[in-house]
């Protein structure tokens, strides 16, 4: 159809600008980069209460449960396991806090509509999402390393001298594992754009492989699937990483598996980001 084209000259007398004088701002225009987006995301993550709540509860769970376990164990139990092992029990619950924070970092923007303001301020959507991943991972990794280290130090001071296993590796790998779960949640949140939906999905991802094998084991044909699933379930993966069964499994395959899944989800999040309307 032909759009009505109004006679342009008719409106001309009402334009008040002297021709050739559009406004130019006195503030110099800088070219923006990822550093600007990271600074912005850092301001965002530290200025909402959900960050304080989730990370506070995370610390409380990991250090608190770790302390209780450390107190209620005897020196002899640490013969062939690292001192950080009490942190494992806290992380089983604490990972849910990081999952929640990871989802909220992005899904709360969709929930409130803030995402439109953000993408108007930076139409380079990839840069914003990359900054979110970087800032969230840095925060989650720092807090989990801090929490596991604290538990390790507490346990060592209570049961010093028994264990000969170095526990630096468990701090790094354990922290990496739960932080990656958080990053996976952020990616899922970016794809689903809905806080409750993404948190529920992530809880299913973490819990179903830990529970379902019990039923799969009932059938002979599904037993091998059940075994694999159980081996890669998040609670078991964490147990391996903390050296509960250090002779047979270091937990490295589980960690690599999570790296792979997270990378795929992150790639999916970036891919969908450009195509969809916000």
């Amino acid at each position: 159809m032909s759009t009505p084209q109004p006679p342009q000259h008719a409106a001309a007398p009402t334009w008040q600008t002297p021709p050739g004088h559009a406004y130019t701002s006195p503030i110099p225009v800088k070219k923006t980069n990822l550093g600007h987006a990271i600074a912005s995301e850092w301001t965002k993550i530290k200025s909402v209460r959900s960050t304080m709540w989730t990370l506070g509860i995370f610390l409380l769970l990991v250090v608190g449960i770790g302390f209780l376990v450390a107190v209620n164990t005897s020196d002899t139990e640490y013969g062939d396991v690292p001192y950080t092992i009490p942190a494992f029990f806290g992380l089983i619950l604490g990972q849910i806090c990081l999952i929640t924070l990871g989802v909220l970092v992005i899904a709360s923007e969709y929930g409130t509509g803030m995402i439109r303001t953000t993408f108007t301020a930076s139409p380079q959507r990839h840069r914003v999402l990359a900054a979110k991943f970087i800032v969230f991972f840095a925060v989650a990794f720092s807090f989990s390393v801090l929490a596991i280290t604290l538990v390790g130090l507490i346990t060592q001071s209570l049961h010093g001298g028994e264990s000969s296993v170095s526990w630096g590796g468990t701090v790094f790998k354990g922290g990496l594992y739960v932080s990656l779960l958080g990053v996976l949640s952020l990616a899922v949140g970016a794809m689903l754009r809905h806080s409750a939906g993404a948190i529920a999905t992530m809880l299913a991802v973490v819990l179903v492989p830990a529970i379902l094998p019990a039923f799969l084991m009932l059938s002979a044909t599904l037993r091998s699937i059940g075994n694999t699933m159980q081996e890669y379930a998040a609670p078991n993966a964490l147990a391996y990483l903390f050296g509960i069964d250090s002779d047979n499994n270091t937990g490295n395959p589980q960690l690599l598996f999570l790296v792979g899944v997270t990378a795929a989800a992150v790639a999916g999040a970036f891919l969908l980001l450009d195509r969809r309307d916000v």
């Binding site: 159809m1 759009t3 009505p4 084209q5 109004p6 006679p7 008719a10 409106a11 007398p13 009402t14 334009w15 008040q16 600008t17 021709p19 050739g20 004088h21 559009a22 406004y23 130019t24 701002s25 006195p26 503030i27 225009v29 800088k30 070219k31 923006t32 600007h36 987006a37 600074a39 912005s40 995301e41 301001t43 965002k44 200025s47 909402v48 209460r49 959900s50 709360s108 923007e109 409130t112 509509g113 803030m114 995402i115 439109r116 303001t117 953000t118 993408f119 108007t120 301020a121 930076s122 139409p123 380079q124 914003v128 195509r275 309307d277 916000v278």
Partner: protein, 423 residues
Amino acid sequence: MGLERMIEAVGLTKRYGDKTAVDNLSFQVRPGSVTGFLGPNGSGKSTTMRMILGLDNPTAGQVTIGGYPYRKLPNAPRQVGALLDAKAVHGGRHARNHLLCLAQLSGIPARRVDEVLGVVGLQDVARKRSKGFSLGMGQRLGIAAALLGDPQVLLFDEPVNGLDPEGILWVRNLMKGLAAEGRTVFVSSHLMSEMALTADHLIVIGRGQLLADMSVQAFIAANSAGFARVRTPDTEPQQREKLTAALTEAGGHVMSEPDGALRVTGLPLPHISDLAHGADVRLWELSPHQASLEEAYMRMTQGAVDYRSSTDQKAGLQQPLPPGALPPPPVPGQGQPGWYAPPPPQQGGQPYPMPPGTMPQGPVPPGQPGLPQGGPPAGPYAAPAAPAAPGGAAANPYAQPAAQAPAAPAAPAPTESDSEDHR
């Protein structure tokens, strides 16, 4: 070139499944003036705004700002500021941090945040979480975000929603001031009275299609005409009947206003006076009424409204009227076809568009709404022209079809002798 058209849409189209929200929309917005963006609810205004800002991808066509698609702008907030939705903030973040994270995103120094907080008058609540803000405070925060980058182009979607009268006045002056500095200001609103005061130019859409793109004065002139308000003595209702009959007989179109006054179109004021005199009716009032932007807008868009209210019958709740009681008088405009004055006669009978050359050049002097040049020298209250020719009626798909206006006078177009007689 970039100066001439800061925002330029070409064949912009957006479809959601079967529904076409924006249909082949082309327009330009120029710097140095406030351009109003009007249309009924669901007509595609916000979708268009989102496409301008690169939030939604058009199904077809494109829209550019200063020659660039929004998402290709090197530092978008420094060139374009936008208020889309005042509620589009994270309520748990306080106002200053909200603006700070936006400023950091485009490398704007933090002191600019305090500047714009002062500009919008939120400096005292800068450290309050925006969850507790009133609608008006939220609008101010959104305007602050738009002003943050000191941009050349500003887009506001319903900026005066929820503002108090003082705030409305402030927004009006702000937008005029921004335009006077040479910026491009593109603002959508439903408040016609506000638009009439603020905007210089109008872009009107209905059902996603362009209905008009012209100056405010030209728009009013092209889409409505004034009417005369006539009041007979309240004490003598029979005089009112008598005058109504006389006016109708003379070709006028008479409607009752709720307070008993008559709204007359199609007859010049002196002729109404003559008729009243001839019928021996005294008049308490005979006043010209200038059409407002609202009326012009209503007339243009009445065919393009998606969400139309129906009368609340309250059937089953209502007691039957006692014998002899009269039903309540109708609310103005409801259920009275042709309440809004018909447009002035135009060549070819097309409400819009008009062939080039028939547009009044420049602002229309008051009292002469859009007389086509070369047409008969009819007064502002002259009878409307005969219904549009079939060919011409197709030009505006939403123009009110002649058949829908049964109350329109059966009056023929004024003949030579008629117009000479009463002049």
